[in-house]
């Protein structure tokens, strides 16, 4: 063998050794230095590096280097940078450049044919490189290599390695292509409105549905376009840009496209990285949902308006009926006339209760009712309730038994009016549905999470409720056993209202009943102990206070004393004056002058009649403008203004009076309105009025208002 051949053999042996060594070393280095590195990714790189090395060996041999020493080390030195690049730095570009020349064709064929083609291409590249490196005969490298057995072995090994690498790459490309095709299929077929934008905010992917929504018939026309341009066309650019500005990972907003029909979309967007603008966008058409919501809101608004109007329209004549009856009862009447007048008044009050129930139910349904917690005296509260119910129970011939535990505090912070409403509803129901026997009320308290848990239980010995009907008990406008209860009046709203009020106050209501034997309704509410957390001992060491009202006997005074003794409190807080039966002659006035403004002459007559009983001089006007003029011309101690009036309504008149300044800033103005819907009181107070009385005007309310607003020196008790 010539020196050249010996050198080639040595080089080929060296190549084989180095390749094996390189593989082992790289694997070991990776295992130690970078345990997290994926060997599947790095080993092909190592193989490529080895291929480069082998290639360099063969090329160098072709330069006919005579020294074995050089033949061994020069290839290593020459190949070192490539090996380092490929193995240590990744060197994707180097891999790419090499493969593109000698293996791209091979990549297209995964079979053995690919190997042969790859070998051929490799030889061409080899020849080309040889020429670059200065071989003086075209194609010499190939021929020399083919004449050299070990050279051929080296090339075959190199090509096998390349083939394996290519297979790896091909597999990766195939996976990539399949993933891409799957993604494209999803984007093309999904009914969803989806888009993916790249780092320049241009469209990278878009679903057909969204492209069509943007007015683009073919997806290919949408790709690479500025996403914001399309959004601009739809009139939603600022919303989308704002979302991109925020740079959040997930945002939700409703964007509206103004078109023939406004369409609303819920836009959700996800950022695809912290340092990129690339994002996904998903639009969901919520137009139908929003239109349904708007329709429901509109219906609710119309319902509220209807209720407000109905309330107003019914309360106006009711004011005349109740007011005139009350005035009539103050005149000398014979016994028949008096009982007839009382019957009219009672019927009117029943009708008013029904109207109030309907209004309450509507307020609760609309979520416009809120519990207003204020401190109140427990003894006075129970006394008031019992004073009302005791009379009804006595009239029905039923015994009433009330048991109060000593853990009920003397003062409570809660909504006294609503608690009383719930309690009266249950007690009145018990009286209505009990023909004989007794009614009992148990009140107890316990400290619970969130405050004081106040428990009430109303038991009766009435007809009871069938088990099958208990579930329907709290439904609105529902009356059970209507055949049997034909003679019992009611709207079927009482229990529904009670349940919602109890829930509004953080409580629950339940019922136990045995058909034919009686029922027990229990509820609790969460309120606060009015003693500011002080655990004062109850005034009475008794565990329970039991008050018994026997039918036909009026023992209110004795029982009130017992209540005060047990719960504590002063007699002033718990006097009969808290009851509604206020008399016209409770106090008189001297030189008091009041202006009453109302467009309804009957209401004017009622108001004037009620006020004159207090000795008040009443001046009337028929609209706000007239009232405004009168109040400037004359001096009044107070003015009552109706709300809805022609020319100028009460709210406008009040605002105009306050705007006059001087004495007009302080003159008491009281709204007198048949509008009892939520929010009206605030509206009147905001307009500068001092108080609000709803029609029909109740004597107790008028009485309290006059005491509050008339100058004290003009009141003669």
């Amino acid at each position: 063998m010539t020196d050249y051949m010996i050198g080639t053999v040595e080089a080929a042996r060296s190549l084989t050794r180095k390749m094996v060594l390189l593989y082992v070393v790289v694997k070991q280095i990776l295992a130690i230095a970078a345990p997290n590195v994926d060997p599947e990714l790095w080993i092909p790189r190592a193989i490529i590096g080895a291929s480069m090395y082998g290639l360099t060996v063969v090329i160098t041999k072709n330069r006919r280097l005579s020294s074995n020493w050089l033949a061994t080390f020069i290839p290593i030195i020459m190949a070192l940078p490539e090996i380092l690049w490929v193995v240590l730095l990744g060197g994707e570009w180097l891999i790419f450049l090499y493969i593109i020349g000698c293996s791209l064709v091979g990549m297209l064929f995964l079979e053995f044919r690919g190997l042969l083609i790859s070998m051929t291409v490799n030889c061409v590249v080899l020849t080309f490189c040889s020429l670059i490196l200065g071989i003086n005969m075209s194609g010499a490298g190939v021929f020399t290599m083919l004449n050299d057995f070990y050279g051929i072995v080296a090339v075959v090994i190199i090509n096998i390695l390349i083939y394996l690498t290519c297979k790896q790459f091909t597999y990766a490309f195939k996976q990539f292509r399949e993933t891409g095709e799957a993604f494209s299929t999803i984007m093309e077929t999904t009914p969803g409105f989806l888009a993916v934008i790249n780092g320049y905010a241009r469209i990278a992917h878009i679903s057909r549905s969204l492209a069509e929504w943007f007015g683009i018939s073919d997806i290919k026309y949408a790709k690479k376009r500025s996403f914001l341009d399309l959004c601009n066309k739809m009139g939603i650019m600022s919303a989308v840009q704002g979302l991109m500005e925020q740079g959040g990972t997930a945002e939700e907003m409703v964007v509206t496209r103004h078109d023939d029909r406004d369409r609303h979309f819920l836009l959700r967007s996800f950022s695809m990285g912290e340092h990129t603008v690339a994002r996904t966008f998903e639009f969901t058409d919520v137009t139908d949902m929003m239109e349904a919501k708007m329709t429901a809101e509109e219906a609710d608004r119309q319902k509220s308006n209807f209720l407000a109007n109905m309330s107003h329209e019914i309360r106006t004549p009711m004011n005349a009926i109740v007011g005139m009856t009350e005035l009539m009862l103050t005149t000398p009447l014979n016994s028949v006339q008096q009982s007839q007048a009382l019957a009219v008044k009672n019927a009117a009050m029943s009708l008013l209760t029904i109207i109030n129930d309907i209004l309450d139910f509507s307020k609760i349904s609309a979520g416009k009712m809120e519990a207003a917690a204020t401190p109140f005296n427990t003894a006075a509260f129970i006394n008031d309730t019992l004073n009302i119910i005791n009379i009804n129970a006595a009239e029905a011939g039923l015994a009433l038994k009330v048991a109060i535990s000593n853990n009920v505090p003397p003062k409570i912070i809660g909504d006294e009016v609503r608690i009383k409403q719930c309690l009266l509803n249950l007690l009145n129901n018990a009286i209505k549905f009990t023909k004989a026997g007794s009614i009992s009320l148990d009140i107890s308290g316990e400290h619970a999470e969130g405050g004081l848990k106040l428990n009430f239980t109303v038991r009766d010995t009435g007809m009871g409720i069938k088990k099958s009907e208990i579930n329907r008990l709290f439904e609105a406008f529902t009356q059970l056993d209507t055949k049997k209860n034909r003679d019992i009046m009611g709207t079927g709203l009482g229990l529904a209202i009670t349940k919602r009020l109890v829930e509004m106050m953080g409580g629950q209501i339940s019922v136990e009943s045995v058909y034919g034997e009686g029922s027990a309704f229990s509820f609790y509410i969460i309120c606060e102990d009015g003693q500011d957390g002080k655990t004062a001992d109850p005034p009475n060491a008794k565990e329970r206070c039991v008050l018994e009202y026997e039918p036909g006997k009026y023992q209110a005074e004795n029982l009130r004393a017992a209540l005060l003794e047990f719960l504590g409190g002063t007699a002033e807080e718990c006097t009969p004056e808290r009851r509604d039966d206020v008399k016209f002659n409770a106090f008189k006035t001297k030189n008091a002058r009041v202006l009453v403004v109302d467009d309804n002459p009957v209401n004017l007559t009622v108001a004037a009649g009620m006020l004159r009983h207090y000795g008040i001089e009443v001046i009337t006007a028929l609209n706000g403008k007239e009232g405004l003029d009168r109040i400037q011309e004359e001096e009044f101690d107070a003015a009552f203004f109706d709300h809805m009036m022609p020319v100028m309504d009460g709210v406008e008149a009040a605002a105009a009076i306050r705007a006059l300044g001087g004495r007009f800033e302080t003159i008491p103005i009281i709204a007198l309105s048949a509008n009892a819907m939520p929010g009206v009181e605030k509206m009147f107070l905001d307009a500068g009025m001092n108080a609000y009385l709803s029609k029909p005007v109740m004597m107790k309310d008028l009485h309290r208002t006059l005491l509050n607003f008339l100058p004290p020196e003009k009141i003669i008790t």
């Binding site: 780092g199 905010a201 007015g215 690479k224 376009r225 341009d229 601009n232 650019m237 840009q241 991109m244």
Partner: protein
């Protein structure tokens, strides 16, 4: 007066120089002892448009917007501020194509590059074309030229190191060989006159040049004459178009004979039998139709002292009257 600088970091003369340009702006304002400026480097396509709109709308004082990029950045500035009375626009030739500024003369480019000139010079009113897609200060092309525009920019995006002109020439030649596919029937109405027919390309021009300023397809155009110059190239074979394209690009329209219709108008409405590809100041769009209307003196444009736009002569005076079909 507040100066709002909008820098497009990927514009060809800005790439890799954002810090340098920013420092230059700061040094200039530091030198004159003023701090009535703000710099915004755009983050994505149309970021500058949205940003400048919000800024100008809420600014209590006049705003001079400095567009530091190419025609695309200028497009965004115009579209972001059009209709706002307190805005003036200054354009810097920092893009691959600054054809709008080339109109003022290639020897004048250094004057537009000077921050001092752009800060202290007066403004001149400039016409804008209002389209149903956006506003264009330069030219709007439809059909072949728009497709070449789109393809050229796509090639440039993929092969960033290739010369810009090479990308667009390649895209243009490729488009010429797709004339059969690109040419279509358009329903066109110009100021109420019907110009419908089969066309391969339509150019509605403000200034006369495009393509870096070395092509003058609209020699009659002037950016503040209150009228649009419109050129309709009839559908023809690829080879014929290839032989004519040089005449078109150099403004030698007479030698194109009946293959080109030149007219003027204040309003043009175009719709195609298929969706039409259009390019407004090199920003590409697809849509069913396009309506363009000239808005005379719609924006206030900063002309460096020494350049009077009204005194720049037209390359060619339009023929009297309107060309008919």
């Amino acid at each position: 007066m507040h100066h709002q600088f909008i820098i497009n970091p990927i514009a060809s003369a800005v790439k890799g120089r954002v810090r340098e340009i920013t420092e230059e702006i700061k040094a200039f304002f530091g030198g004159i002892g003023a701090d009535n400026y703000h710099i915004h480097v755009t983050r994505w396509v149309r970021d500058g448009m949205g940003y400048v709109n919000r800024f100008a709308r809420t600014s209590p004082e006049p705003v001079r917007v400095h567009s530091m990029g190419g025609i695309g950045t200028l497009y965004e500035m115009v579209n972001g501020t059009i209709g706002l009375p307190n805005v003036q626009i200054a354009a810097y030739p920092m893009g691959a194509s600054n054809f709008f500024l080339q109109y003022f003369g290639t020897d004048k480019m250094h004057m537009f590059r000077s921050i001092r000139n752009q800060v202290f010079s007066d403004v001149t009113p400039i016409d804008v074309m209002r389209g149903n897609i956006g506003y264009s200060i330069g030219h709007t092309v439809i059909g072949l030229e728009a497709i070449a525009d789109r393809d050229g920019s796509e090639i440039l995006e993929r092969a960033k190191h290739l010369p810009v002109s090479l990308c667009y020439i390649y895209a243009g030649i490729r488009s010429i060989f797709r004339v059969k596919e690109i040419g279509q029937r358009y329903d066109i109405e110009i100021d109420g006159v019907d110009f419908s027919g089969e066309y391969v390309s339509i150019l509605v021009a403000g200034p006369p040049c495009y393509g870096g300023g070395n092509m003058i397809p609209a020699p009659e155009a002037h950016p503040n004459d209150g009228i649009m110059e419109i050129y309709l190239i009839k559908k023809m074979s690829s080879l014929k178009l290839l032989s004519q394209i040089n005449n078109y690009m150099s403004g030698n329209h007479k030698s194109m004979g009946d293959n080109l219709i030149h007219t003027q108008g204040k309003k043009i409405t175009i719709s195609g039998e298929r969706d039409i590809m259009m390019s407004l100041d090199s920003e590409c769009f697809y849509d069913e139709s396009l309506t363009l209307e000239i808005l005379p003196d719609a924006i206030e444009f900063v002309c460096p002292d020494g350049i009077d736009i009204t005194k720049i002569p037209r390359i060619r005076t339009p023929a009297r009257g309107r060309n008919s079909r």
